[in-house]
Symmetry: C2
Subunit: 330 residues, 2 copies
């Protein structure tokens, strides 16, 4: 590891220098931001990697982000400075949040990050920074999908694809806490994890035909709600498995023929998680009640963000890949 000396006007950050492979991510000095009105300057202690991050890195032309840019949505850290008008937080508070990023709003792969206080909540006291940083975007997505859009109910049968992933591992725990029966897909090596999280049935999608397996276990047309974190060919499976008048919660932008969905009278909810401090508080309460446990696949020092991206792109992660910045603390 190499450290650059920095002034108080600078910070270490990971900069996306061009759309492309992990090598497009460069660890270097950047200007340190200042918090505007209503915003916090947070000393980031940990940031997690979400699939949207590497999708932007690969080719984010569909967003308004243009390199060079700092990406990253999740953070846990300590409030360093508050902007004018901030009322709920003060210097020294430990917080976690999912940030909205854009060309004008840099992300969390950085030593310091500016965020509107409305997006922020107190970090649950029993979680480390690494654990807390693993939750925000994945848990927000799962919560909004299952509860705000999907309205799952006690006794519903819910199919959660990729149950060992970031969103999947949170969604399994949430669906179980809400009284649903959970079927999930994962690779064989992760069956132990999803069962521990509460899944009632785990299907090894690399060995079994998921449609046949689900039908064999619970019968045809028996899935009330499907959370699809994968898209593509999985979306077509969903249209076969969902019951008539059922719902599909999709967090991907699949391109798909909808005839089957029409024939079955499906509700299709396309979910791009919105960021919200009050939602983070709900997630913190779930953690406090022991109903939601972070699942951390691996921790990389932020200088090795390229390796962290490589890890998540390979697939088969067990929960979240987290970037740690704690070694940068003086």
């Amino acid at each position: 590891m190499t450290f650059s000396l920095r002034t108080n006007l600078q910070m270490h950050a990971v900069v996306l220098d061009a759309f492309g492979g992990p090598e497009s991510l460069t660890y270097r000095l950047q200007p340190r931001p200042k918090p505007g009105p209503g915003s916090l300057l947070v000393r980031v202690m940990a940031a997690s990697v979400n699939p949207i991050d590497y999708k932007i890195r690969l080719n984010g032309a569909w967003t308004d982000i243009r390199p060079p840019a700092i990406i990253g949505a999740d953070a846990a850290g300590v409030v360093e400075e508050t902007g004018i008008g901030v009322t709920r937080f003060r210097k020294g508070d430990e917080v976690f949040y999912a940030a909205e990023i854009s060309q004008m709003t840099p992300g969390t792969y950085a030593e310091y990050h500016v965020v509107p206080e409305t997006l922020v909540a107190y970090k649950p006291g029993n979680l480390s920074f690494v654990e807390a940083a693993s939750l925000p975007l994945a848990a927000s997505t799962a919560w909004q999908a299952l509860f705000e859009r999907g309205h799952i109910e006690i006794g519903d049968t819910v199919l959660i694809h990729a149950g060992s992933g970031g969103v999947g591992s949170a969604a399994i725990q949430m669906a179980k806490a809400a009284g649903a029966r959970v079927i999930t897909t994962c690779r064989k090596s992760n069956v132990d994890l999803v069962v521990r999280l509460g899944a009632d049935v785990a299907i090894d999608y690399r060995v079994e035909n998921v449609v046949d397996a689900v039908r064999k276990i619970i019968g045809a047309d028996s899935v009330d709600t499907i959370l699809d974190t994968v898209g593509g060919p999985v979306f077509a499976q969903n249209l076969e498995l969902v019951k008539p008048r059922g719902r599909i919660l999709s967090i991907t932008a699949s391109e798909t023929p909808l005839r089957r969905a029409y024939q079955k009278n499906i509700d299709l909810h396309l979910i791009r998680a919105t960021r919200s401090g009050s939602l983070m508080e709900k997630i913190a309460r779930m953690v406090g009640a022991g109903l939601l446990k972070p699942v951390v696949d691996s921790v990389y020092p932020i200088e090795r963000t390229d390796e962290a991206h490589g890890r998540i792109e390979t697939g088969g992660v067990r929960g979240k890949v987290v970037l740690s910045l704690e070694s940068l603390s003086s």
Copy 2:
């Protein structure tokens, strides 16, 4: 017109002899059906033509219907005979309904039709058979889309495509009755009709760019709910016009990229109207209250069903095209 002599074991009907053009529809004698347990034999006085009818006629390979077959979903008529176990209707009752059709269940383009009593309601007394037959499937579709799936509310802005069509003309009246602001599209010659039905704004889709026109009138991202009866290129317009977290109610099986829908957090409800007697009763109550008026574009004797199909395929109809069988009554 030519009449064939028929015995009491026969009936006149329109038979789809092959998937193809209107000439595939042949008017000829068929065996008269008998009502099974729980079903009614209805002497059909009028049947209406729905777009699904000509889509099946053109190429219904995606359904389970195979020529030769009698198609047609809507009917108004008189109960001729009741099957064992029928409790709610008796011979002589005037009824209307939307039927479910399949390879085993012939449709309503026929002098006699068998239907489960659960799908049937009493014909509103102030409507002719032709008027009553114009309503069932179109009004059921509009009702289920706007109320059961879309949950529109007072003050919502609702965009209804093809407002002068069968579903559109019912949907405009229903959305207005529920307190919504209604924007609709139609050709210039039908503006008078949609305004009379209650539309607040009518856009001539053949002259104006609908996206630009709607934005100019009510601003960007202001449409709460869109009822899309058209699909294809119109579906792409919807994704631009619907507000974030808004909803699209689609009664077509469009093939479409969903990235924009994902970015805007859209709920997409794919609606294939289910048939139900209790829903027909709700529609009859709306008619009785003066809140829903049938809109009949034209009436063809059933022997000229081919011409009726040609009329609806040409586009620009004002409400429903109805087939009359009253001249067959003795």
